[in-house]
């Protein structure tokens, strides 16, 4: 019998994967037209006062090495394709955190001619962190909520949403 099909092996491997994933989240930051406010708060969460590295979270440069995509700002026309491309380059499983009011709804920029709207109209989003900009504590809390959700063996919220939508009426 192939060990890979052994139920015990599958279960152990799943546990190891979850453990590893939860303790070494690599994030990539994408600014899709933000005013900088959220970006500097994200940077502040990485620096000594808030220090998200204690949760194993590290900012990563390449989308191909990243687990989490942190998006700030309303999606401008020019950033839209780039955002999609960055998301598609990330390996599975991938999670998206949308930071700031404008990435959730367009915020003050709603209706501007070069703004397409919210991030979740372009890519599926797992965690929304509201605020203009959200405080670093709020950003840390959002990331921890995602981790807690995954720890319990759940699917990422965006995938759950997709499954619900697929249920015939």
């Amino acid at each position: 019998m192939n060990i890979k099909n052994d139920p015990l092996w599958v279960q152990v491997m799943k546990k190891v994967r979850t453990w590893a994933r939860l303790n070494s989240i690599w994030a990539i930051h994408f600014n899709s037209g933000s005013c900088n406010g959220c970006d500097i708060e994200i940077l502040a969460t990485l620096t000594p006062r808030y220090d998200v590295e204690r949760f194993g979270i590290k900012l990563e440069g390449s989308p191909r090495h990243a687990d989490v995509l942190i998006v700030t700002g309303p999606v401008t026309r020019q950033a839209r394709e780039r955002l999609l491309r960055t998301y598609e380059q990330m390996p599975e499983p991938k999670f998206v955190i949308s930071v700031g009011s404008c990435s959730i709804s367009g915020g003050v920029f709603e209706g501007c001619y070069n703004v397409g709207g919210a991030v979740d109209e372009v890519i599926p989003v797992d965690v929304f962190i509201p605020g203009c900009p959200p405080r670093p504590e709020a950003i840390v809390d959002g990331i921890i909520q995602l981790l807690t959700h995954l720890k319990e063996g759940n699917l990422p919220p965006s995938q759950t949403k997709k499954l619900v939508e697929q249920v015939p009426a």
Partner: protein, 558 residues
Amino acid sequence: MNIEQTLQTAEQLLTSWNKEATHPESNRLDILITADDLRPAVTALHDARWGYLSAITGLDLGVESGQLEALYHFCNGPAITTLKIHVPRTADDAVLPTIEDIIPPATFFERELHETVGFHISGVKSMDRLFIPDDWPEGVYPMRADFKIEQAQPVPGRHADELPEEGVVGGNTFVVPIGPQHPALKEPGHFEFTVDGEIVTAARMRLGYAHRGIEKAAESRNWIQNLYLFERVCGICSHVHTMAYALGVEKLAKVEVPMRAQAIRQIVAGLERIHSHLLWLGVAAHEAGFDTLFMYSWRDRETVMNLLEQVTGNRVNYSANVLGGVKCDIGAEQAKVIKDGLDFLETRIRHYLEVVTTDAMFLNRTRNVGTITREEAERFGLLGPTARASGLVRDVRVEAPYGAYTRFPISAVTAVNGDLEARCEVRLNELLVSCFAIRTLIDNLPEGPLFVKVPRKIPAGETISRVEAPRGELMYYIKSAGGETPARVHVRTPSLCNWVSVLEKAVGRQLADVPMLIAGMDPCFSCNDRVVTVKHSGQQKTWSWKQLREYGIEYYNR
């Protein structure tokens, strides 16, 4: 020379093309000229070294009038001379001659003028899209009065950013693309550096990823809503943006802001400068590979963030300004907290000053890198600390004091070398000056109310408001038609003028110096997102990846 004499000199210089001269405000001179006379008039001002070109504003005067208006603002200390040109709105007639060969930074302003208002600029070297997407339809201009958002449907078959493919250019040269998503850039911008080995031979950039269309949005929001919209032009210098806007609107409404409110505005602006420069120091150190300094400076920056939160209640978008004053007071308890915080910051800033001038590794990355002479700084039209590091005093707080700076003057910090080290020194020394200024303001805070009432409808008129942002001169042109919403607000941010320093100075340097050069001007993409510029030196041909691959296969089969 006082303001009247300075303006008289300008009027004499321009006398042969002058069709009509007006004085809309005591420090301003508007001169109506024809489009054909633009180049000689600009040359006359430029050759006499009368100030510098600060911005070009384009206005659509409406479908009924059938005219477009272009305003070329020249600033000389507090005096502003504006060349005013009227051209018909029709596509064939709305033509202006280029002045980019006389004043190089004008190329940025002209591109903006062309894309947003629809002026055609004759004689320019490149007409690539600047800040609006490449799939934007031809002949549709967002700042025109009759623009409808439905007109801006994407052109099928085109990408929003049509970028030339990277690859071998010919010989040993190679194009290295950077951005829009890149670990060295916290904000989106795209750069292409053509390198021959390690040496950069050409630089090109494409911005507009953060272009949101705020100036158009301002026309559909009322005067008070706009205060919060302009706060979000940039999250790093949000306070100075609202200050420039509020100062302009208050001038139009002819209200006198109480001195206490002006002093508190200045205190918040000073704290914002400290946060912005410490942020910059960290990012610059990070680009140089000095992550320890990055972490330390950001740790200390949290002290000033606490002070800002203490005073205004917010960490980033402070909303300290209201039209007619401020909405937060500084009491005795807060004054003590601020002073204690400044004590700590001053010792840290002195320490950083020592680090950036003595650390051998850091000096290797900054000393004699990207040196800009005083003459070049003047020719490129640089602003703020980037200009002051070359010995050119460009500081609105000193040249044309506004608000509380009329009562609490400040001294300009300059250096002579013009390299990256000088820019570090200028910025850090500026922080010491800011700390001193904040202390003086707190100790001598004038008594009085915090704000005065500003009418809901602002009287018709137009004004120019200039303030010194952490990155340089920030300029707002505000026009009111007497209604509840502005007729036109034009924003010219300092980063827009400073880009030339990167693109000119990258050529001939090693590719590894490029991140430091970009960081050296403290770019703010969200502020200036509107421009592209091209500088090529003898580029032959761009090869696509496909061609390159075919060439490779052919080469190895030989």
